[in-house]
Symmetry: C2
Subunit: 331 residues, 2 copies
Amino acid sequence: MRRVGEIALISDYLASLASPLGSFGLTDDAALLTGIPAAGLVVTTDALVAGIHFFEDDDPGDAAYKALAVNVSDLAAKAAKPAAYTMALALSEAPDEQWAKRLTSGLARAQNKFGIGLIGGDTVSTRAPWWISITAFGYASPRGLVPRGGARPGDFLYVTGTLGDAALGLQLRLQKLPFAPTLSASQRGHLLHRYLYPDARLGLSEALATHASAAMDVSDGLALDLSRMCSVSQTSASVLVSKIPLSEAAKTLTIASPEAFYSVLTGGDDYEILAAVPQDSASAFEAASFGAGVTVTRIGTVEVGSEAPRFIMADGTLMQLQTRGFEHFKV
Amino acid sequence: MRRVGEIALISDYLASLASPLGSFGLTDDAALLTGIPAAGLVVTTDALVAGIHFFEDDDPGDAAYKALAVNVSDLAAKAAKPAAYTMALALSEAPDEQWAKRLTSGLARAQNKFGIGLIGGDTVSTRAPWWISITAFGYASPRGLVPRGGARPGDFLYVTGTLGDAALGLQLRLQKLPFAPTLSASQRGHLLHRYLYPDARLGLSEALATHASAAMDVSDGLALDLSRMCSVSQTSASVLVSKIPLSEAAKTLTIASPEAFYSVLTGGDDYEILAAVPQDSASAFEAASFGAGVTVTRIGTVEVGSEAPRFIMADGTLMQLQTRGFEHFKV
C-alpha cells in the first residue's frame, strides 16, 4: 500500500474537506472568517488522543468523526450555528492511502451531518499514537451565548436524549460490562454506536437560546458536569435519579443491577445537553424542544447552596458517588 | 513537590491567562469572540510536540512561548492584529507545581509581548511526551488578509530580519554545528535565542496590508516556503543568495564553510516574513517597513514559470538543494 507524506495528505486528501468560505483550499498560512454576526463567534477546542479517548485500532474515520462531533456538541450547547473548524493532526508515520482515505471520509461524514467545513490546521509528527485536536467555530445566536454559569435557584434541570449509553458502550467494548448477556443484539449495537458516534443536539439551539438560563454538554458524566454548572452558577441542585432518561439497553442493565446507575451518572461521552430553564419558561421550552424534534426530560431542580448536587433515589435516600466523573491526569 | 490535577491546572494556573474578553474565566464550554471587524477574523493553528519541535527537557514555559509565537507569526504574515487564542494541552501525568508555574509564566510572557489572551481550550492526557496545540485569532486588516497566493511575475521578494539563525541554533544545541568554535559567546547566544524565542513581525502589518501582493512566514525554510508561495501563485522566482540577510553569527559560519548556506536556505523555525511586493510599490514598502522599525531586505524577484525557485550564487551558478525544507512524516 502506498504511503502518503505530509504535503500529499493535505493536497490529495484534506483539501477535499476545505470549506468554500475562507479556507483558500488549505493553501495559505491562515483562514479568513467573514460574515460573522454581530452577536459574535463561539469558539471551542477539544482534542482526542489514540489510546486515551479512542482505541488505537479504531477506524481513523470514526475517531475523526467523534473529534468533530464533540466540538460541534459544545457549539450546540451554546446555541451556536456551526460554521467552520481547524484541525491539528499528529501522526507517528506517513499513513497508508487506506488510512488517509478513511480519516477523510469520517470527517466528510461529520461535516455533512453537522453543516461545518474545514478551514485550516496543522499536520505534525509524533513518536506516539496519533491524535487530533479540533477548534470549532459557530455563529452566536442573536440572543447570545447560553452560558454555563447562568443557572438560578428554582430553575428546572433538563437533559436531552438518554444518559449513560456511551459509558456502558465503552464498558461493553472493553468486555467489562456486568450483565452484558442480558442485552439483546440490537441493544448491544445501540450502546456501541452511542460510544462511537455522538450526536450534537443542534436542533435544540433555538429553544436553548430563547429559554435556557444555562446549558452545557455532558461529556464527563452528569454528576461532574452538573457540579461544574452549579459551581460556576454558585448554586446547588437536586436530581431525581428515577427521572434520568435511559435507553432500553441501559434500562435492562439497571434492572439487572442498580450498580449500572453509577455508570449512568459518572460515565462520560454522552454529549447530551444539560440545561437549566426558569420555571415560568418550562412549558415553552418543552414545547419548543418537541417542535424541534429533540427529546428533553426534566430531571431535577437548581437549588440555593454551595454543596455538590444531590442525586436522590426513589426511596428518598441519596446516592453516594465515589467519583463524580472523568478527570485527566488526576492527582 | 505537590502535583497539580487537571481541574486545578485550569483554575489555579491557566485561568490567570484568561482574556477579559469572551473567555468567561475558562469556566464555560466555549468562548465568545465579539467586536470582530467587518474585514473578518484570521484563524491559524499550529501544534508543537515534545521530542519533535522542542526538547523534552526544555523549560515548558519556553516551549509554550514558542507555540504561541509561531501562531502569532502567522497572524503577522497575514497583516492581522492578534486578538485571542485557544490551547489544547496534553500531559502524560499530573505536572508538579513548578512545571505548571513555568508553563503559565511562559505563556504570560508571550501574551504580554504579542498582545493576545487565552479564551479557552482543552486539557487531556497522553501516554507520550507532552504537546501543545494553539489556534490563534486575529482581526483582519481593513484591506483584508494578505494571501500566500498573490505573487505576480515582476514582484520583488523581501524577507524580514535574518535567515538561518534558528536552524543553526538548533544544530548548535545538538552539538552538530560545524565550525561552532569560530563563534563568539554572544554569537552562540544569539543563535540559541533565535531557536528558542521566535519573534512575530507584527510591526510589519500595515506595510504588508498596504503594499504586499503575497506574504507568509518562513517556518520550514526559505527554499520550501518560497516554493509554496510560488506554487500557489503559479509563478517561479529567483533569489540572489548573496542578498539573503545573515546575522553576524551566520556570516561567520558561512565564511568558515559555504555549507552553512544550506542550513540558511533549508532550515526552518526562523519565523521571518517572506513578502512579494509589486515593483512600483517597492520604495513605499521599504519606507513603511523602515518607519515601523522592521528591517526588510530585497532578495529576489518573482518570475513567470512553474519550475522551483532558483537560488543564484555570486558566480552565477545555481545552488543545488537536496532537500528544500522540513516535511513531517515524509514518504
